[in-house]
Amino acid sequence: MEFFRSHVLVCGGTGCTSSGSHKVIEKFEEELKNKGLDKEVKVVRTGCFGLCEAGPIVIVYPEGAYYNRITPADVPEIVEEHLLKGRIVEHLLHKPHGDEELVTTLNEINFYKKQTRVALRNCGVIDPEKIDDYIGFDGYKALGKCLTEYTPEQVIDVIAKSGLRGRGGGGFPTATKWKFGASAKADQKYVICNADEGDPGAFMDRSVLEGDPHSVLEAMAIAGYAIGASQGYVYVRAEYPIAVQRLQIAIDQAREYGLLGKDIFGTGFDFDVEIRLGAGAFVCGEETALMESIEGKRGEPRPKPPFPANKGLFGKPTIVNNVETLANIPVIINKGPEWFASMGTEKSKGTKVFALGGKIVNTGLVEIPMGTSLREIIYDIGGGIPNGKKFKAAQTGGPSGGCIPASLIDTKIDYDNLLAIGSMMGSGGLIVMDEDNCMVDVARFFLDFTVDESCGKCTPCRVGTKRMLEILERIVAGKGEEGDIEKLEELGEAIKDGALCGLGKTAPNPVLSTIKYFRDEYEAHIREKRCPAGHCQALLNYSIIPTKCKGCSLCSRVCPVGAISGVVKQPFTIDHSKCIKCGACMEKCKFGAIEKK
């Protein structure tokens, strides 16, 4: 085997790839060759490191130097200075935030310091397209242990002791699900990995599939052994091309090594996995709709019961687990359930991955122990709110979840605490909002999404969410009426009770939780026709502050509809009947004389 004195790890996740990391890799290979270093320095394409905000990310070992925002133009300098001469290129290192000092290595950065990476343990460390890399990091050891040392009952027992709950959002105990699957009698059973990650802004599962696909395959085989299934399916969105490609490579490699297929480890256990692509319908993340889709039918949910564990895919007992849930399994087997259960809170064990987005400095992927407070996530890991704005609320659980207002920022994040305050864990999207976000509009945005994605099978969801959206659209357009809030609440509760599947049952959550915590904003929209956050265009008026206006006429020249008039060197005025509220004047004014409220 060749010996490399240095490894250059370049992130090949979707985030960094779209900011050009593939070109960075090519450039590294080219430069190393030019300098004759290609035999001693290895370039490795890895999965997501998490700090997507700062991509493309490059880490150089053995120093562990952490470079970010690297373009092909920076590569010659890193090769020349760092790899040839051994001088870390300081100006390309991670830029410190606030009180941070200039740091060279990954783990010294605040963003990583407070994280505990379990599901993401291999992301950004291994080359996801090399099964040997995964095996080197104890890959497939857990499967070997299960097949040779444990009975299926014992495997389920280990998972039960770990306290692992489903990471897809529901939080159902994984071992219980497996137990149902195991106790069902049938000639054929199935394991499905639900990788139909549909929440807007969520990309945890994608990163696991891209960065560590083998951990999911290994866990599926373990699940297959536990319940007595010989076939698995990964249902993944076609919109995740890199994830699909790496998963297929991983499946091929695992088959070649005999880690999937017949008679694994000579134990007589057979298990194989196939990929099924989803066409991007949100409802197909719901397990019964997902199974319909795999069967080649329309993605519409089935009534439960019968539960999938008894009558699932093709009418056979099936267990459906989320990507992140599965990624936790091998490490639980290897390190023991006690280790896993030592992290987290009483009823929520282990860690959770969140996709941090919205008004936050460090956009990216974070994995934290359950029980970490929202404040720690937003300020210590996320780096706070940009531009000195005030934190207003965090939205978890995407279109099914709710908002956590600033007053509850010290809430310890776990399944039960989030449910208690009217939100939910969800799959892990965490969108941060500041004072400029209008909560009514946020609710409208999510409802607009669910109306679009409702499959239309049941009336409460199909018609109910549409009616709610119409009311919300009226409110943000300044046409809200007294009684609208009560109507929304009533409709919301009715949909929650009456809808067929999880999509409908949770669709009203964003509305109900914003009404609960930000009722005053709804009232301001309806009664005063005013948007307190200054966001809803229809309720805004631009006006010129006479004392600040110098009469330069710039605004009247940029106004596309000729709504601004005046005499040069005298204060100008805006004709509100003509104004289309495009904001062009405010952007151009050099004196800050135009206000919006």
């Binding site: 004195r5 240095s6 490894h7 070992y61 053995p62 051994g86 460390v125 080197g136 880690l259 000579g266």
Partner: protein
């Protein structure tokens, strides 16, 4: 895959490849690769260290480079760091000397006194 032994063999082989990333290697050889070092011939020295460490399969040794430490007249310079010991600075190296340092110092723990900076001075 027919047995756990087979998996363990692959793991062992893979570990050699990824060691650098998995844990900090304990022994370090740092070669001065600034302009002064390179012009004095540090490049073949570095290559010799890399080759020799590889040939002997020393998985706990990392070979890295550093910039100028200010003793340009002694270049090529390499420093050897072993856990719990004072670093040893070797000067006026060439490829042959580098190989001897690997054999005597890194493998057997005996400092090659005649190459050290103290000996020169």
């Amino acid at each position: 895959m027919k047995s756990l032994e087979e998996l363990a063999a692959i793991r062992k082989k893979a570990l050699e490849d990824i060691d650098l990333r998995k844990k900090g290697t304990e022994k370090r050889v740092v070669v001065g690769m600034a302009t002064c070092g390179i012009s004095a011939g540090a490049r073949p020295v570095l290559s010799a260290f890399v080759d020799e460490v590889n040939k002997r399969g020393l998985k706990d040794v990392a070979v890295t480079q550093t910039g100028c430490i200010g003793l340009c007249r002694y270049e090529p310079i390499a420093e050897v760091f072993l856990p719990g010991q004072e670093k040893v600075t070797y000067v006026h190296l060439d490829a042959e000397k580098a190989k001897r340092i690997v054999a005597e110092h890194l493998v057997n723990g005996n400092i090659v006194k005649e190459y050290t900076i103290g000996y020169e001075e």
